[in-house]
Symmetry: C2
Subunit: 413 residues, 2 copies
């Protein structure tokens, strides 16, 4: 899709243009029926996404691949790399697609996610959260023993000493980056001298190898308007840049200086020394990100296309001006903005009720629905939505091409 100015509504409508194939006899394959249609991983039958039993989580492979290619070409042109965050998709096959496109590794938020990714063949993993308990440190070191590409974050001298002791006890030298606080005071150490002192400590500890720093500014990713977002994120990365300079001046490793996210993917390379960005949502996009606006289109963030959708079925249509579906909070979360009906206009969807979605028609609704009809929803906020499902259907040209296991679903520990 060309990066032209386009309203949020027109963007969302246009994304539905691909509904080219809808069988006349809609069957409704359940999850177990779908799995039975695969032999040695190859689909034996043409099944449309519109035939899936619902709620069903779907990813459009063409759009996903396009998003991955856009990210790769943009970061390459900007002289940095991508290190996509697997907390978004929790799906090893997508992590592998990212690595195959040229990403230098993936990120995980939790050690259980890192374990799941490694068990499924992913070997370049940066865990962006500090492991603070004895259990989690033990698990991280066990993983590091098997996985030489595992790097973990630390944000305090006490933690660094614990990590080093655990590594030494296993006869390891573990790879570590310093997590630097961008100002949100959520995780990370204060940039500047405190971060420098921690890096010097890490560099001196027998069980650790310093690999650089990370500074993920989650608070800037959803700032509306490109200019405002650019100003905020670059300002908040200044502390990390100062830290980078201190590391350089002290001869400490800055091999990794990781930051950024989907909202600032085409901004953060202006930060001196930055090596890569921890982009997550760009693979799927969602209603939250569409709302922030882009560099070339203030109305909608159209740099990436919404590839992740939920198929849902109308359960009740007997009341004027509305319909009830089978996808509520347990299928969509209650994140805002609410999910958007793909390819339609003049209707609003809410998933505030645990079991049911509510569709309300506005004046000029593009259509109405009857009981049994299906709708396709662009998700509100992709990360927690993915975390509700055990699998997603991989769709190409509206047909189910594969079933992808969300291997790290629920792995919040």
């Amino acid at each position: 899709m060309p990066k032209q100015s386009m309203s949020r509504r027109r963007f969302l409508q246009s994304t539905g243009a691909a509904a080219i194939w809808l069988p006349t006899s809609v069957r409704g394959y359940s999850s177990s029926e779908m799995q039975a249609l695969f032999v040695d991983g190859v689909m034996q039958q043409d099944v449309s996404k519109w035939e899936l039993d619902t709620p069903a989580l779907c990813v459009d492979i063409d759009l996903l691949e396009s998003n991955i290619a856009t990210m790769q070409s943009t970061t390459a042109a900007n002289g940095i790399a991508s290190r996509p965050h697997a907390k978004t998709h929790k799906t090893p096959i997508i992590a592998q697609m990212q690595l195959d496109s040229g990403s230098v590794g993936i990120c995980t938020a939790k050690v259980s996610e890192a374990e799941a990714m490694f068990q499924h063949g992913i070997e370049q993993i940066l865990m962006t959260t500090t492991n603070v308990t004895a259990t989690k440190i033990r698990r991280a070191m066990n993983l590091r023993e098997s996985c030489s590409g595992f790097i973990q974050a630390t944000d305090s001298p006490e933690n660094a000493r614990l990590l080093s002791a655990a590594a030494v006890a296993k006869g390891l030298v573990a790879d570590v980056v310093i997590d630097v606080d961008p100002g949100g005071h959520r995780t990370g150490i204060t940039p500047g001298q405190p971060a420098l002192r921690l890096a010097q400590l890490v560099d001196s500890l027998p069980g650790l190898r310093l690999r650089g720093l990370l500074c993920y500014d989650g608070g800037s990713q959803h700032v509306k308007g490109f200019a405002a977002r650019k100003q905020q994120t670059l300002e908040r990365l200044m502390g990390a840049t100062e830290t980078y300079d201190l590391f350089q001046g002290s001869g400490l490793s800055t091999e990794i200086f990781s930051g950024g996210g989907t909202g600032t993917y085409n901004i953060d390379h202006d930060t001196r020394g930055l090596t890569d960005i921890q982009v997550g949502s760009y693979v799927f996009m969602d209603a939250q990100y569409i709302d922030i606006g882009g560099e070339s289109n203030a109305e909608a963030y159209t740099d990436f296309q919404p590839s992740l959708t939920i198929m849902t079925t109308v359960l009740n249509a007997q009341y004027q001006g509305r319909a009830t579906t089978d996808a509520g909070a347990k299928a969509c979360t209650i994140n805002r903005p609410w999910p958007v009906v793909k390819g339609e206009s003049g209707m609003s969807y809410t998933s505030g009720s645990d079991e049911f979605g509510s569709l309300v028609y506005e004046a000029g609704a593009s259509r109405t629905y009857k009981v049994g009809d299906k709708l396709e929803l662009i998700v509100s906020h992709c990360d927690p939505v993915v975390n509700l499902y055990n699998q997603m259907y991989a769709i190409r040209n509206d047909r189910v091409e594969a079933i992808w296991q969300i291997a790290a679903r629920g792995m919040s520990a």
Copy 2:
């Protein structure tokens, strides 16, 4: 706990009084390590809930049993039964505890939940949502074929005919109740004559057996203040009562007239003909329900006690006035009110960030935390929180007594 007047804060603090046993050497057992400690279902070692790797979902068995007993004695005294909703817990062992206490059956919201419950030995199941697609109707009839206690809802003549045809095709007579709309226009048919005509149709169809009606008024459950809640729910049940009278006058079955929920468990029996209430959250309670106030205590709903909690660990405590934990939206949801730190006061918790919880201290905070410390959270809204976890730890006197599989987790289809 006696039903005395007590502030929300004091109630929440008092529920933490049971923290009697905290080992000095906290280990941090992961999920797989915990499972290995059970031999033939019997725990081989004393493990405190404070030793669990986090985030961990825990249920206090004594509080759970007390809640179930309170519900049973109240409904018995009021001349009705309970038919608890398994959408809340999705856990067969809790469904069995409810049936053992005297509940006449359980409810499920989705056919996949009903299948999971039946596969785990639950045989009296009322599915409160109408199955509208061919797939779901086929699954419901397959279940009905094996499970004579399976009853399903219908809310339109078209649907009733589809259900009957599917039942006849299998050589079945399927049990059906009429879902009557309490006014929310979410599901159900309009009470009065439309509901009567549907019931007469069901009664005449060869594949169906009418068992009565249901009217679940979800919109009244969280009305704040007992008097306001009582007025609203009884008013909104009047249509269902009129329908009940019409059924009675026409000689149709009113064997089941099911309504109510946790918020109106001690109100709905005033409705003429009501046989049972679909109470769900009472087993666990949550911050949402505590806020609505009760009959004897306007400040907090203390009829039931919060049995469901999340254990979480402090990851970062280096910034003034706050701490960051490992339980964010993926462990707690973003429902409001936010989770409450059990047994403490003067601090507020938010789980708006996907991976991290934020704790902010107010003036007079009962304590502060350091990195690695654990907190216990009373959940915000139990149903969607349970739906995030594959298992819950069953705790008695702070020790892990069992691990309960949440067999219907994620079963939104």
